[in-house]
Symmetry: C3
Subunit: 340 residues, 3 copies
């Protein structure tokens, strides 16, 4: 369930209302009411789930969700008594339903009318906060924090004690541990890049992003870097990890402890990175990967597969360093031979 | 002619004044006055044009421009009755003339003295605007927009109804369609990277950038992305296109409808992109290219030539995906062989 | 010695105090007091230095520093009469000592309580400064500058006459020459990415960054670009150099005159670049390199070695252009052959 610090849910909706919102056909239990969306694995009887990828058919067949958006050919696998919303495009239907429960109007950027420090914000002792900084409702700023001019801290955000938030920073939908250093222009907690991609001319549908960013102690984040919040799980940055300037971290990424992420790295959604990992400048990591503890990725590498702990990789596609260097040497030799 | 919403022209100038400003030698019609600059193809009799690249000689020979900056060896091709400003460096001369018509003092960033909401700005019903946001003269904000703290919206900017402008955003010299989502730290409308490059020690000359950014409906732009305004034509983002974080879009780029541009992509000036194009993370596109509808560019690809509609390409230089994958496989095999 | 415009030193400390701060063992002259840190080459008798890399053993043996953090096996090379702080991790010890002399509390981001224009700031004639801009103590703004809304200029910063500072810009710890154009969202002067990397689980230690950014006349810096200040020497951008959007420039980088740095380039720490150099979009340069005058680096190139003046290079690792193009052609041929 989305963290109520950051999200307020609309609804509840009847099955008929959900059918109209999603464009799906309702069956089984039209009179019921539903109060929230949920992943199938954790859903309760008043929750709406969806099945888009057949690899989750097994989870679907055992879910406790009250209703599920599902393709016609998967409907027969539904648990007994579950209501159904049958459609050829369950994910697009889900995007519409999620937007009904979490409308943009309530959850745009959380700072609409914000000015100065909200009365309900809790500010620790010994903080120095620039008069132009904006701090939203129920935010919690720990003792001894310093917050620079023109920074905006959204409602419900937690900044641990000793944090240094520079100027022109935006923090929303996030929980930040003690002694963080957040450099100017950093953006934490905005929507991840999640859309139900258009199959036709009616355009990509935004999928509400309902997770958070959770940042450990002693983390440093470089100027103008961007960290998107999770889609439903959280985006997580482990204790002691140091992130350089202009780095992009996508939704649901998990970075371990004491990693070093050099400038202009990009990490795609849902990739999980171990502890003490070093990512060289301008490296790029595809989504949904597992990068082991102690891995070192060379600058400009393009990582498109999982990496075992302790390996050093380089190149694109990234491969063990010696293999990468050998392929460079081979190509150099061939180019010279051609010349003679 | 530059949009008077955003640009105010100085002058007019006599031919002699233009000769002095540009360092060129005037001939033919010294007593005439000129009121603006213009591309040769659309110029009128009181406009100043320039010919730098001989591939436009034909356009030059037929232009209606009143005067043209031109190299000595091209001067003979001028239409009858046209005044001439003859110089070895027409583009540098043009940069100086354009800066005289559109001086930086009048057109720096359009927000010099701005504070709060200008009285001449038009604000639609139901907007929520943070008190620290700045909105310039004659800007138009549609109904139901939400504008976050510390955002700056320049004079004349149009934001369509239902727009969500997050915090710390800068919008100048742009027209934005309905239901846009502009994430924190986005910069739209600043000068493109246009200079008359130095041939000697006297340095690169800034060429005034006099176009706009025109953004369609339902466009989303990710945190800290940058979209430069056009140099004379506009930079255009088509309806429904979704742009991720830290993306760079150069001046005069045209992106079609419903494209997906993943994080850290860079698109160089004047490249034209069709509809439903997908650009993978960290891909780079050279300038002045034509990318067809439905093209898919793999992450980290470097595109240096036009791409036919529907192709999937990868690598650097980008080539059809199967060819790219094969070259990776071949190199891998060779590196292994070397080993044995 | 760090520029007192930007840094105020704590201390002095006794040798015993330094031993406790650094975790090193003190020997020779326990009663002495030390007033600052310094590189070995310029240190005086009341300064603390460190020796981490044996290639500086010779400098160490001749230094005038009063005390030095040093490994046990290098201690014997110390000049006569020097006090010693012996430790297995001199650089981590130095990081702790430097943080004691320059505590984060005094030097966080220099803008803690800033609001409006500080009374001690010097503002030249004819400036236009947006009411929401913040200008710190003793900053100097030259004649005729324009400063946009929500920009933050730290204490002691110098902006030369005729500067255009757009909106949402952050400038700290920097000296900027005349006629600069600083686009929206630029960050100049924040900490470089300097850490004493963890050998164990106790995490990376921040090394105080005590240099400045020095920017020449007629420099232009594109939207959302980031320029870190030096660690002890300065980061330097030469006169007339033009920098595009989303460029990253690391600490201690030196860029010459009239260079052109295209969007999304990254330059790692301590690399020195000559005059009239062109760096193509998304190119990356490793640290500690020497790039000669007139070098041209192709887009997306990865430069990992020094480059002689006048060369054009491309690819990764970057090599002379013809060699790079030949290796592309060879690989293409091989991939085709495989096919037949």
């Amino acid at each position: 369930m989305p963290d109520p610090r950051f999200y307020s849910v609309a609804g509840p909706f009847t099955l008929d209302e959900l059918a109209e919102i999603s464009g799906a056909e309702a069956s089984n239990g039209k009179s019921r009411m539903f109060s929230d969306i949920s992943p199938l694995s954790t859903a309760g009887s008043d929750h709406v789930g969806f099945l888009d990828n057949r690899k989750y058919l097994d989870v679907f067949s055992k879910t406790s969700a009250g209703v599920c958006l599902v393709r016609p050919d998967h409907a027969a696998k539904a648990p007994d008594g579950m209501a159904l919303l049958v459609t050829d495009e369950p994910y697009r239907g889900y995007a519409r339903v999620a937007a009904a429960f979490y409308p943009r109007e309530n959850n745009a950027h959380g700072l609409d009318g914000a000015d100065g420090i909200d009365k309900s914000a809790m500010i620790g002792k010994g903080c120095q906060i620039a008069p132009s900084a904006v701090i939203g409702a129920k935010a919690e700023i720990g003792e001894g924090c310093r917050i620079g001019p023109h920074s905006a801290i959204g409602p419900g955000v937690v900044v641990g004690p000793g944090g240094v938030i520079a100027s022109n920073v935006t923090l929303t939908h996030c929980i930040i541990g003690a002694n963080a250093v957040i450099h100017p222009g950093v953006r934490v907690g905005q929507d991840g890049f999640g859309f139900a991609i258009a199959s036709g001319p009616d355009g990509h549908l935004k999928v509400p992003q309902l997770g958070r960013v959770v940042i450990g102690e002693n983390v440093e984040i470089g100027a103008n870097s961007t960290i998107d919040r999770g889609s439903a799980p959280d985006t997580v940055i482990g204790e002691g990890t140091k992130i350089d300037n202009l780095v992009q971290i996508g939704h649901n990424v998990r970075i371990g402890m004491n990693c070093v992420v050099v400038s202009q790295v990009g990490i795609s959604g849902s990739t999980a990175i171990g502890d003490f990992v070093v990512l060289g400048g301008q490296a790029g990591l595809a989504g949904h990967l597992a990068i082991g503890d102690g891995v070192r990725v060379a600058a400009k590498a393009g990582v498109i597969g999982d990496i075992e702990p302790g390996l050093t990789v380089g190149g694109f596609p990234a491969r063990p360093r010696t293999e990468w260097l050998r392929s460079i040497a081979v190509l150099k030799r061939l180019a010279k031979k051609k010349d003679s």
